[in-house]
Subunit: 204 residues, 2 copies
Amino acid sequence: MGISERKERDKQEMRTKIIDAAISMFLTEGYEKTSIRNIAEKIEYSPATIYLYYKDKDELLYEVQRQAFEKLELEFHEKVTSADPMERLEQLCYTYVRFGKNNKEMYDLMFMMKAPMNCVEEDETWNNNTDSFDFLVKCLSDCMENNLLRFDNVMTAALSVWSMGHGLVSLDVSCRFKAMQMDETSINIAIEEAIGQYLKLIKA
Amino acid sequence: MGISERKERDKQEMRTKIIDAAISMFLTEGYEKTSIRNIAEKIEYSPATIYLYYKDKDELLYEVQRQAFEKLELEFHEKVTSADPMERLEQLCYTYVRFGKNNKEMYDLMFMMKAPMNCVEEDETWNNNTDSFDFLVKCLSDCMENNLLRFDNVMTAALSVWSMGHGLVSLDVSCRFKAMQMDETSINIAIEEAIGQYLKLIKA
DNA sequence: TTAAAATATAAACACTGTTTATTAAATTTG
DNA sequence: CAAATTTAATAAACAGTGTTTATATTTTAA
């Protein structure tokens, strides 16, 4: 029965073909400005064909998000290498913010896009990013077990650290730091300073 | 020459009619899902008429943002009333976060929408929100002049405080706290805790 | 080789923001 | 007051969107 296996391979190949085109276009043009027709044109298939492999445009986004979170997690495992818990936390924070700044469009798809989150729904779909989040929680627990942090609740700690990191990145990604009359390099410096400062503040 | 004045009044009235419809629809349905045709239908005019009063859909958004920032500033002046600088900072932080949580769709238009910021352009358009930001800077300066804060640079301080506040609100608005397996009330409590915690941390 | 199943697509539907040519109304001028 | 002109509103069209359906085309099974 090699035939049905080859068919399955072909199907996966096609899905990959589509998602690769989608990724590259989402990242260069953004989600909204990328149309199914454009993706279809890029892979030289008709628009309707895409709907044989993905339910709708949102499902393309979910898959892209999945891969993006994989990439973030990989970055964590590559860059958060210290044995010292506190040093690990520092590496984690800098890695997170730099990941956002180096992959702005991707960061937008992961953490800022509101459209397909659909606050209401129950969603199996959004079991994403828990890995990365768990990574943070683990790191914070390690610090707090050794009384290295001025937090008394791990979840509040995680919420705080994440919010600080996300605040810095997302205001930058959405260009809101324009409100501060500073040039780009000054802002970049200030952002790194802010992280360092924050890390000092939360140290016990 | 009362005629041209009445015409000017009529024109303003029409602009108000349009923007009021736009606001209410942006806030209930969101910017993307609100169409010019829907707005036109609501005010019982043809879609093309709107273009006689506003250049395009983005210009509607800019006007809505302007009014939203006015509302935030008003809230600041209403709720940030203490004479004590440090107490003022606390009031400011809580006011900001609660404003975001009570006006999620509006907060999205103000601080999260990427579309019409157009990072590149020079924009006179985006002289918004500087008032609110200046309010924060003033508040922080007052604190720091009295050595009440563990910051040594006002701009870094402003960047940090804003990022923390924005991080908390925007992750909530965009439903990303779903990654933490917590119910809504727990998250709301944790957010308020995080602010209190942060304020303690930055106190000298 | 023919019948059946899987795959791809053209065409259509109901939308979108925006522009243009046309019509209707209000105002100014002779 | 009537005619000419400016102003205001719109219908219709353009080029685009996500998505569905009915129609080929190709591949597999009998």
